[in-house]
């Protein structure tokens, strides 16, 4: 970028040079506004979020109620969605975008809300515009929850690894953890007297370990017990080997296997994507290693899953499954492929550009020098 001649360090009087008057946030915001691509990305992303939220409100049945002591109390404000994404009109299938509805073939309540099919209709005569509105919300939440889970696990694991990495796991820790886990497994198998004993021993052992370490610091152990304090592996090694194990599975298989075997629901998809993509974040946090991969990985995985027919179950529209259902009609009804395809492209692009801009600004090494 060209350096701006009005920058303070070139023409400013001496007292301005002494200390920057702007806070960090203001400074970042100023730098951010100069990066036009990133700014455009943020704008598009905010527009998308707004669309997703209004889409959620406009396409779902509004029902206000609450639960008291396990009893559902419904206040009877139940109305049909303003844009109904599930309304099937077989006589109006595969209408092109901006087509006017055939007034004779439809009953009044089947008419599209806008008076025309803005984005056309699909093979069942459902309004693609309503489906896109509904899908925006699903895509937004899937993305946020999955990335959120991955980032949180990654920060915790990477933080532990980086901060406590040099500490060693001692034999007694392993012993009591095994007892604890045996207790949990026995509890799941419901082997009555044993689980309580194991669980109790594990919990007490861990409490004992901590008290020994932080409360009775000065007391030394009797000789035969000191075998319990032998260092085994460092925490860092442990976590990084675990990351290695997780990385050994092609993430695609892991996602597909779990998704193929668990009942498909939006929440399972989110959790599975989140649980299988935290390794990058862990390494990132641990080594502050810059990598472009995490950003596109999650979105790619999401789109992949939906494309192959897994992912969100059929009645719910997502941009991914509108796109993958549409591919059968690519020659007869190209809008079924192009509208969701371009929409995904624009949103993901905006998100990536925004992320790139943010990274440039927050990382002083990459920040542009003036």
């Amino acid at each position: 970028m060209k350096s701006n001649p009005k920058e303070p360090h070139q023409s400013a009087p001496v007292e301005d040079v002494a200390a920057p008057k702007r806070s960090r946030l203001q400074e970042s915001w100023r730098l951010f506004k100069r990066n036009k691509l990133a700014f455009a990305g943020l704008t598009i992303f905010l527009l998308f979020s707004a669309t997703a939220i209004t889409g959620f409100l406009l396409t779902s049945r509004i029902q206000i109620g609450f639960e008291v002591l396990g009893i559902d109390i419904k206040i009877a404000i139940v109305s049909d969605p303003i844009f109904d994404p599930a309304l099937v009109r077989l006589q109006e299938k595969l209408r092109p975008p901006l087509a006017r509805p055939n007034l004779e073939a439809l009953s009044p309540e089947e008419l599209p809300t806008l008076g025309l099919y803005l984005f056309g209709t699909d093979d069942l005569g459902r309004d693609v515009f309503s489906r896109m509105l509904q899908g925006a919300w699903v895509s937004l939440t899937v993305g946020f929850v999955a990335v959120g889970i991955a980032v949180i696990i990654g920060i915790i694991m990477g933080g532990i690894s980086g901060y406590f990495g040099q500490k060693h796991v001692q034999l007694d820790h392993i012993l009591f953890l095994i007892l604890l886990h045996a207790g949990i497994v026995l509890l799941l198998l419901w082997i009555r007297p044993l689980w309580a004993a194991f669980l109790g021993a594990g919990v007490w052992g861990i409490i004992l370990c901590f008290t020994w370490k932080y409360v009775w610091k000065r007391r030394s152990l009797p000789g035969w017990l000191s075998i319990l304090h032998i260092d085994t592996v460092s925490i860092d090694t442990l976590i990084m080997r675990f990351v290695d194990i997780m990385l050994c599975f092609p993430s695609f298989f892991l996602i597909l296997t779990v998704v193929a075997l668990l009942p498909a629901s939006i929440y399972n998809i989110m959790i599975v994507i989140g649980l299988t993509s935290w390794m990058g974040a862990t390494r990132f946090v641990r080594a502050e290693f810059l990598s472009l991969r995490e950003q596109d990985f999650v979105t790619a995985a999401r789109a992949l899953g939906s494309f192959l027919g897994f992912g969100v179950p059929p009645p719910h529209a997502t941009w991914g499954n509108i796109l993958s259902d549409g591919k059968r009609f690519i020659f007869d009804a190209p809008w079924l492929t192009f509208i969701p395809g371009v929409a995904i492209l624009v949103v993901v692009l905006a998100f990536n550009l925004f992320g790139e801009g943010l990274r440039d600004i927050l990382n002083p090494k990459l920040r542009e020098r003036y």
Partner: protein
């Protein structure tokens, strides 16, 4: 050096052992059994299911099944539950097909992304840099299969060449050059598609790496002592910027398996990824587990190679 190699081989073997246990557990503890895949088939009488379970040791406890499976795998006796073919032979045949796709894709990725990234970094902020940034993000963001369909339609309508599958059906007695060109066309489009995302990511990475090195003190020193720009860029900066990519070279190995499922299923390419995908749908455990095991071995070999290479090229690293 030798002690590092020994230590890391031992660590990798332990990791592999855990991977084998975890993958076995994930597959077997998940709901759904191979004997229940086709409950509507009248041939699946309860006796058949019982015989099936006995035949494949599904009636034994899990740890016995585990031992059976891995001893079969290492002696090469594992057979697919679907068609009783030896798994290793099936995988080898599919692997040969995937290998072509992988080689061409990798060559495209690695030869194109470096010049693009380096030029972007050297002319930072120029029109070239900005358009390269924008296009690489465009390519990263576009959903793969959407891009594939656009590309297929474009190539088929513009050049009138068939692109689906590995070769055109019924080309058996065509002349050699025609057969060859047919193969090349079929190979080119999926490889280009597979390479685009790679080029976009890698060239961004080259750019940021190069920029980071250009800001280092030794580059300033090189410039200060009056070296010509070319020498500063290509001798002092580029060499150091290339270091991390040596490690990445080892990490592309696992892409042999996992990287191509989508592309293979779009282009009906009879490769390994597609086979594994079909095996998951058919609950064909031997194939899923074997592919998983092989890919784990590839990941571990890849990280091992990259660690050793890193040590060889960068004398500052002492592992």
């Amino acid at each position: 050096m030798l002690s590092f190699i020994g230590r890391s081989i031992i660590q990798k073997i332990i990791t592999l052992f855990f991977v084998s246990i975890v993958s076995f557990l994930v597959i077997h503890l998940a709901p759904g059994e191979p004997s229940q895949v086709d409950p509507l088939n009248p041939k699946f009488t309860p006796e058949m299911v019982e015989r099936f379970r006995k035949e494949f040791h599904l009636d034994k406890p899990l740890y016995i099944q585990y031992l059976y499976f891995y001893s079969d795998l290492f002696t090469g006796k594992t057979i697919s539950w679907k068609d009783n073919q030896p798994v290793l032979k099936k995988i080898w045949e599919r692997f040969k097909n995937s290998l072509w796709l992988f080689i061409v894709g990798t060559i495209l990725t690695w030869t194109l992304s470096f010049p693009i990234g380096i030029r972007s970094a050297l002319s930072r902020g120029s029109v070239y840099d900005r358009s390269a940034t924008f296009f690489s993000y465009l390519l990263i963001s576009i959903p793969g299969f959407f891009f594939a369909y656009i590309l297929i339609i474009f190539v088929v309508t513009r050049f009138h060449v068939p692109v689906i599958g590995m070769d055109t059906f019924g080309m058996g007695d065509a002349s050699l050059p025609r057969w060859f060109m047919d193969r090349v066309w079929h190979l080119l489009i999926p490889s280009v598609l597979g390479a685009t995302a790679g080029i976009a990511v890698l060239s961004r990475y080259v750019r940021s790496q190069m920029l980071e090195v250009e800001g280092q003190d030794y580059v300033r020193t090189a410039r200060a002592k009056g070296l010509p720009e070319e020498q500063v860029h290509y001798k002092h900066a580029l060499r150091n910027a290339l270091l991390p990519f040596v490690t990445m070279f080892g990490l592309i190995l696992p892409g042999l398996i996992g990287g191509s499922v989508i592309i293979e299923s779009i282009f009906a390419w009879p490769g390994m990824g597609r086979m594994a995908y079909e095996a998951i749908l058919a609950r064909d455990y031997p194939i899923i587990l074997t592919v998983n095991f092989i890919s784990a071995v590839l990941v571990l070999i890849g990280t091992f190679i990259s660690d050793v290479l890193y040590m060889v090229v960068d004398p500052r690293i002492r592992l």
